[in-house]
């Protein structure tokens, strides 16, 4: 790339000598072993996950069917959908654009679809509580118009489960060659496991072609389902529970922030894999730099999508507009909003604009933590006030009385910690069952790119097969 030739000369990108294809297999299969620390961490996470179950049950026992008290559970469900659901897109979108850097990251990204299991489980109590379309013999405002009364429940669950299944299908389909590698290069249960799951993978032309086709198909389907699921969850579980909140951009805002969170979670997971998973040889600056750029772009988009809605409400000044501002921005959640604004937009913007931070391994990972926490707060500030609207006000043309701030109780905190721990535990367990960095992707990457000397500078020659 000529235009970049002069701009980043101070940064060194020396590729460590690429490992040979055989070394890649040995290393990555070996990395699936579980040490003592790993087991300890897994037990702790398992314990915390059980506490999460206690949290949900405790909530059900103490507040029962009072929907106004369930906001935090809805928020953590939305957060897991946001952070886990968006992550596989990191494996899909750059791959469709034939970007080479993404290859070592794609396995971890696809692995995040496992979190969909936790999200789906959390959705169950919420579906029970969700006010039905007809409340007090009046149809509440929703995207379901004249659809049967069971509509949001069935479709919401189907979308979420469909999303999870598609994500897992993508995960499995792209892991076939690696299962074959485990079959051929390991012993014990891993070998049997690989034999069973590789489904007779021999690496023939036909198999590779159908692999590519499957990845393309599941990837496209995943993206469409992701947008659709965000559309349903954001409207049914937040917007339509607030009278007068009509915000056409909101589902898109929800989806875009999900991509932002997805990039952040992949960055963080890569950092953990690199630091504690013994994968330094495979996860380089390239991945973190590219993800840092994406995170920067999506943090700006977060602001753009937020502001597109904000200015219309703020300038409009109709009663419903003012109620929106009062409920979600300057009212009970003003601190939540301010925190989310700083952590999702302002901090990433000013941190990642700094070259030394963006072009590093630790920088993007640190910002990823900031963004993930910001988005958790953002989901809280959106879902908790929405759920706190009493059921008998749900038909009003706009919200007249703004509910007071609802602080989390002990059970809410247990639920949040437990759900996140369960999600992390699932990821950790998965990384023992299959190499966390895709063997075949790394082999292909090494095949397709090689360092070259160009005039007086060093470059990379990247082949772009159709």
């Amino acid at each position: 790339m000529a235009t970049d030739r002069h701009s980043h000369t101070e940064v060194s990108h020396e590729h460590p000598s690429a490992p040979s294809a055989g070394e890649v297999v040995e290393d990555l299969v070996a990395a699936t072993g579980a040490g003592v620390t790993f087991r300890r961490v897994a037990y702790i996470l398992g314990f915390l996950a059980v506490l999460g179950v206690v949290g949900v049950i405790g909530k059900a026992v103490t507040v029962g069917g009072d929907t106004t008290k369930w906001g935090y559970v809805a928020a953590v469900m939305a957060f897991l959908l946001t952070a886990g659901g968006g992550a596989p897109m990191v494996a899909i979108a750059p791959a469709l654009a034939k970007a080479n850097w993404v290859r070592p990251a794609s396995r971890i990204a696809a692995m995040f679809s496992l979190i969909g299991i936790v999200t789906s489980l959390l959705l169950i109590p919420l579906l029970v509580l969700l006010p039905s379309l007809v409340v007090e013999e009046t149809r509440r405002r929703s995207v379901w118009f004249e659809a049967p009364v069971y509509s949001p429940h069935v479709w919401g669950m189907m979308a979420l489960v469909g999303l999870t299944v598609t994500g897992l299908a993508l995960f499995y389909a792209s892991a076939l060659p690696d299962f074959a590698a485990m079959r051929d290069h390991s012993t014990g249960w891993r070998q049997r496991w690989g034999e069973k799951l590789s489904r007779g993978w021999r690496g023939t032309d036909v198999q590779w072609r159908s692999l590519r086709m499957r990845i393309g198909m599941f990837g496209t389907l995943y993206f469409l389902l992701l947008v659709f699921t965000h559309f349903l969850i954001s409207t049914d579980f937040a917007m339509s529970m607030v009278p007068g909140w009509r915000d056409a951009i909101f589902p898109m805002y929800h989806s875009v922030s999900s991509l932002q969170a997805g990039i952040a979670s992949v960055t963080l997971a890569l950092w953990v894999a690199r630091r504690y998973g013994g994968l330094e040889r495979y996860l380089h600056l390239d991945q973190f730099w590219a993800l840092g750029k994406l995170l920067f772009a999506f943090s700006l988009l977060w602001f753009y999508f937020f502001f597109s809605a904000f200015i219309v409400f703020w300038y409009g000044r109709a009663n419903a507009d003012i109620a929106f501002l009062d409920l979600l921005i300057r009212g009970p959640m003003v601190y939540g909003f301010a925190t989310a604004f700083v952590l999702c937009f302002f901090a990433p913007w000013w941190l990642l604009i700094w070259n030394r931070l963006r072009v590093s391994v630790n920088g993007p990972a640190a910002v990823a933590v900031v963004v993930l926490f910001g988005l958790l707060v953002d989901r809280v500030r959106l879902y908790v006030p929405s759920w706190s609207v009493p059921g008998d006000r749900i038909h009003d043309s706009y919200l007249t009385d703004i509910p007071a701030t609802i602080w989390p109780d002990a059970f809410d905190i247990l639920t949040i910690i437990g759900a996140v721990s369960a999600a992390v535990l699932l990821m950790l367990l998965a990384s023992r069952a299959v190499p966390a960095v895709s063997i075949w992707e790394v082999q292909q990457m090494n095949l397709l790119s090689r360092p070259v000397q160009f005039l007086r500078t060093h470059g990379v020659l990247v082949a772009k097969p159709d």
Binding site: M1, T3, A248, I249, Y304, V312, V462, P465
Partner: protein, 458 residues
């Protein structure tokens, strides 16, 4: 994907400079013909200024009509330039190279055209300078609360930035032209080339300038059409306008129509100047793939816009949508809009044969722009025609022949400017073309020969 094709620098110079060094024979008659239309158009604009806006089909409450639609349309087209040259430059898409200049040019000229329409659409255009914080004798600063003050600022910034961008990218080619011309042309190009010698320092500055401008233009790119959309969206009183989705909806629609316009222009360039060696089917293929993604995103936004229009099930909004979608003659146009904007072109683009067929790409891209123009019409006019519950003020709108003529004239005007530019400056950047030759190569992987690109880092 760019296939490797060896083109010598001499060949590149000869073919890409053919318009400057030896003008094609079709050029003068075409320019004269377009020039006549352009002159008629300026006379018509003078007529409007003289007689007043009574000559349009506007009424009460349809106070904004075809000219505003056309304004939004041309601002949309202008998004092509930055999309192609800045975004694709930052994402290192190699196939952008031959079309960057033409896309930039389209940006500049369509913005000039877009600015004209709201101006002549005013009641007293000769007072338009009151928008600027200039006339201090009156002691009245323009109202910064008005989106109509944001608009000229955003578009003015965009126009300035695009012009700079165009000029910076033109410098190496101007130096090239200076060295190949004689007489008055040499003087002309010498002055414009600003002493370009092509030494490393100049290249470095030119590259940094290009990248800086790309990055600085990105926020402008997003903000311009967002601000245009807020002209409509901040208005509570008009059903169908007060929607939060407008800003990104307008931007993605603009990219859809702008990139399609670039495709149209590429086909014309390939045919008229016989630049088949440089503008090749794989460029159309890449743009069509990009367009499939953009168009599908745009369709999703359209869907959301409609769903959330019906969301509250309030009377006036339903009346508006009923007229827009079901009542004659809107219903026919609505179907035409959907077909031309998405359902004819995009399924066709899914076929590789279509993507690589220049004639098909030409016609489908024109369809997209018909659809996108209709989209803007569907946004601006029906909302005003069915504005509020006060049914006494419901109206329809029939544009006058003058307004239709000005719409057609705007196309002729932009083409005229483009052709005039193409006579004096190369439409395909020569240095980009040559750079691309240096940076692309073929590598052997196993038995296959695969095109490859040299990058600083991957």
């Amino acid at each position: 994907m760019q296939q490797r094709r060896d083109l010598s620098q001499t060949h590149t110079n000869r073919v890409l400079l053919n318009s400057q060094l030896n003008t094609p024979s079709w050029w003068l008659p075409t320019v004269i013909l377009l020039g006549i239309v352009v002159i008629i158009g300026w006379v018509v604009i003078g007529f409007i200024l003289n007689k007043g806006l009574g000559v349009t089909g506007l009424s009460r409450p349809v106070f904004w009509g075809l000219m505003i639609v056309t304004f939004v349309f041309w601002v949309g087209i202008s998004h092509a330039g930055i999309m192609i040259s800045a975004i694709l430059r930052l994402t290192q898409a190699e196939w952008r190279r031959p079309v960057t200049r033409a896309a930039e040019l389209l940006t500049v000229f369509s913005l000039l055209t877009a600015l004209l329409f709201p101006l002549i659409h005013e009641g007293r255009p000769w007072r338009a300078y009151w928008y600027a914080p200039y006339d201090f004798a009156r002691g009245i600063f323009p109202s910064v609360r008005s989106p109509l003050v944001w608009d000229p600022s955003a578009i003015g910034t965009y126009l300035t930035g695009s012009t700079l961008f165009l000029y910076v990218a033109l410098l190496p080619d101007l130096g090239n032209l200076r060295d190949r011309t004689t007489g008055w042309q040499k003087v002309f190009y010498t002055m414009l080339a600003l002493g370009w010698r092509g030494n490393p320092r100049q290249w470095k500055l030119q590259t940094i300038g290009g990248i800086l401008l790309s990055a600085l233009m990105l926020p402008i790119f997003v903000s311009v059409h967002s601000i245009v959309s807020w002209d409509f969206a901040v208005t509570t009183g008009v059903e169908g306008w007060h929607s939060t989705i407008f800003a990104p909806y307008f931007v993605i629609g603009a990219v859809h129509s702008g990139v399609s316009a670039v495709v149209t222009m590429m086909a014309l360039m390939r045919w008229l100047w016989k630049w088949g060696d440089f503008i090749r089917p794989e460029h159309f293929d890449a743009l069509a793939r990009l367009l499939i993604v953009v168009a599908t995103g745009w369709l999703g936004f359209t869907f959301l816009e409609l769903i959330f229009a019906l969301y509250t099930l309030e009377g006036p909004e339903l009346a508006l949508r009923e007229m827009q979608i079901f009542s004659w003659p809107w219903n026919v146009w609505f179907i035409v809009f959907l077909l031309t904007g998405y359902f004819i072109p995009v399924p066709l683009w899914l076929f590789k044969k279509v993507r690589n067929n220049i004639a098909m790409m030409f016609w489908t891209s024109i369809l997209v722009n018909i659809g996108m123009w209709l989209e803007r019409f569907f946004i601006v006019v029906p909302g005003l025609a069915r504005k509020t519950p006060f049914t006494f003020a419901w109206e329809s709108y029939k544009p006058s022949p003058i307004e239709w003529f000005l719409l057609g004239w705007s196309v002729a005007w932009v083409s005229f400017l483009m052709l005039l530019f193409a006579r004096f400056f190369p439409l395909v950047p020569l240095f980009e073309q040559k750079e691309s030759q240096v940076f692309t190569t073929n590598v052997k992987i196993g038995r296959a020969s695969v095109p490859a690109i040299i990058r600083e880092q991957e």
